[in-house]
Point group: C2
Chain length 352, copies 2
């Protein structure tokens, strides 16, 4: 059932015939901490990245941003993989505004959330339960409309907030990075500062997992938790599309008692093979299935794509999940690679 460019650590979802793709977009001031994120051309431009990512997926090029969300000559945003997968499959998709500073020229499902704050001060998300409740209203409706949903994210600084929540919940898996050199020491320092500032204890967080989000998380997390909470009502197959950040969401779901057999994670091989995350422990502790997708960039003629093989960018914008769905719908590796190269060329030309 799995195509040869996808491997899976467990049972494969059996109802991915008619998937819906969602991508939750947020900002957090945590990304402004120097050297934390490479999800934009510069630290100052990081705030534009989720908006630009959604515009690239929908229109083929950014429209609301001064520059491409990538370093010149660097690896392109994973939005190119997402666009390619959506084009090949014709999957329906929606973008969700869960606390954006920059609103893209793309219609959005708006949860009314505010951007996240710098986690060093220990009050990162003001009312995560309100965001989660709003998202669950949407998740309930979408679960009625589709029997399988892929949920991705774009939030610069998100691996640091993921480390925050995992640490607050008592896990030490490490986290991935969009940089080749993972600034893990800086991230750990930032997280410890935030946990100290918030005053939360492990017991408190185990009792009320949303306190981890409120203290050192980001608004994407309660948005995805709420979407899932609404969708499980109709027994929907749910694929969390991402690396570290979706492991953090999965951990939250588990602690909230919303983990189900039909929730899994899909990500790129660039995250899985990175070595920054202890996937064996993730699978053992959290019991989650992980689908690992290889878009074949090693064979690409485009230098920017080959940089993924060297550890740049790795994942985001639900790219791994969108490609997993494409693979489950019968798309082969050569077809997805060709399409990604075409989308990349379109992006370099400036879109449609």
């Amino acid at each position: 059932m799995l195509p040869d460019w996808i491997t899976s650590t467990g049972r494969v979802g059996n109802r991915l015939s008619d998937p819906l793709f969602l991508c939750v977009l947020s900002n957090t001031d945590t990304c402004r901490i120097p050297k934390i994120s490479a999800a934009g051309a510069t630290t100052e431009l990081n705030d534009y990245t989720p908006a630009a990512d959604s515009e690239i997926v929908v229109h083929g090029s950014p429209q609301s941003t001064p520059e491409l969300p990538m370093k010149p000559g660097g690896a392109p945003t994973p939005a190119v993989m997402t666009r390619a997968a959506l084009q090949l499959t014709g999957m329906p998709y929606f973008f969700v505004n869960a606390g954006l500073r920059i609103v893209p020229n793309v219609p959005l499902i708006d949860l009314g959330a505010e951007p996240g704050r710098d986690i060093r001060y220990g009050r990162a998300v003001l009312r995560p339960d309100v965001i989660s409740k709003s998202a669950s209203v949407i998740g309930l409706q979408l679960g009625k409309l589709s029997d399988s949903v892929i949920i991705g994210e774009s939030i610069p600084g998100g691996t640091t907030t993921a480390l925050g929540v995992l640490t607050a919940l008592g896990y030490d898996y490490g986290v991935s990075s969009s940089c080749r050199e993972n600034p893990l020491k800086i991230k750990r320092d930032v997280v410890q500062q935030g946990i100290r500032a918030s005053g939360i204890t492990l017991d408190e967080v185990k009792n009320d997992p949303m306190r981890a989000v409120a203290s050192v998380g980001d608004p994407m997390m309660p948005a995805v938790v709420g979407l899932v909470r609404g969708m499980v009502v109709s027994d929907c197959e749910i694929v969390l599309a991402g690396g570290t950040q979706m492991i953090a969401v999965f951990a939250l779901l588990k602690h909230l008692g919303i983990d189900r057999d039909n929730i899994s994670i899909a990500t790129t091989k660039y995250v899985y093979q990175d070595g920054s995350i202890d996937f064996d422990s993730v699978i053992r502790d959290l019991g989650c299935r992980i689908h690992v997708v290889d878009p074949g960039f090693a064979d690409s003629a485009i230098a920017g794509l080959r940089k993924y093989e060297a550890g740049e960018v790795k994942e985001g914008v639900g790219a791994g999940g969108a490609m997993y769905a494409a693979g489950m719908l019968g798309i082969d590796q050569k077809t997805i690679l060709d399409q990604i190269e075409a989308v990349y060329a379109e992006l370099m030309r400036g879109g449609q």
Copy 2:
């Protein structure tokens, strides 16, 4: 196939087994013209009505507004019918922000539109094509997820802008009103003022129907046009839920060449029997099928509901379409009336 509380002027939709309900929310400054609209307790509170309506449908009571969107002791907002129909059917639903001044405590699909302006100045909607394009992205996705969609609206002042667009397109059907005494003379004067100020001619509008919207329409119209434009790609059954305003949208669709056999209108009998609209001419000119719903308020124990029979409020928030869907799904008149009375009681208590 039709239950006895629904009549239809033509073929009944044959694919209403799994409907999705949408309600497009907008504001227009046109509602601030004295004596134009009764869609709020006072002219000043009209702006709050769409937000309150959506909150009543989702939560059972308004949350962002100072008062109920109704006159004390008057007929309740049609949102009570919509909520009852959604509760009985479990239909999935979304609200769409197409130019709101007051954003409700409800997750919204946001089209990035601005509120409409006073049509007397002849520049009512700045870029209707941009709103329509954004809506068509959403319509395309929703059409993939559902084979039948009900589209309602809540926009105070909307019958005046409907008269504006119908007049600009060369039709003279009259329009309905949420007041018992329809201020049709004031509406006609306002429309003529707007058409003069805009300088548009019938030929120009026939050539480019969106000019009618830009001059004397409102942002709900291009939003619904765009949703429909996206949905017809997947051959979706579409029910426009409303009276005058959806006749204006249907006329726009016809002039834009997007009219299809599988697009019809559903409304309450309070609009249909009002006599303010020349439905015979509508059906003859536009060729649209109209489904007419009678929720049985004549037999209600609640005085506010019986006021609908006397011509108050009549329709809105997609009430007629939501009840049409309920009827097509097998709900009988007594069941819907009982549920509406329960929702009304909940609203008077202040919600859940």
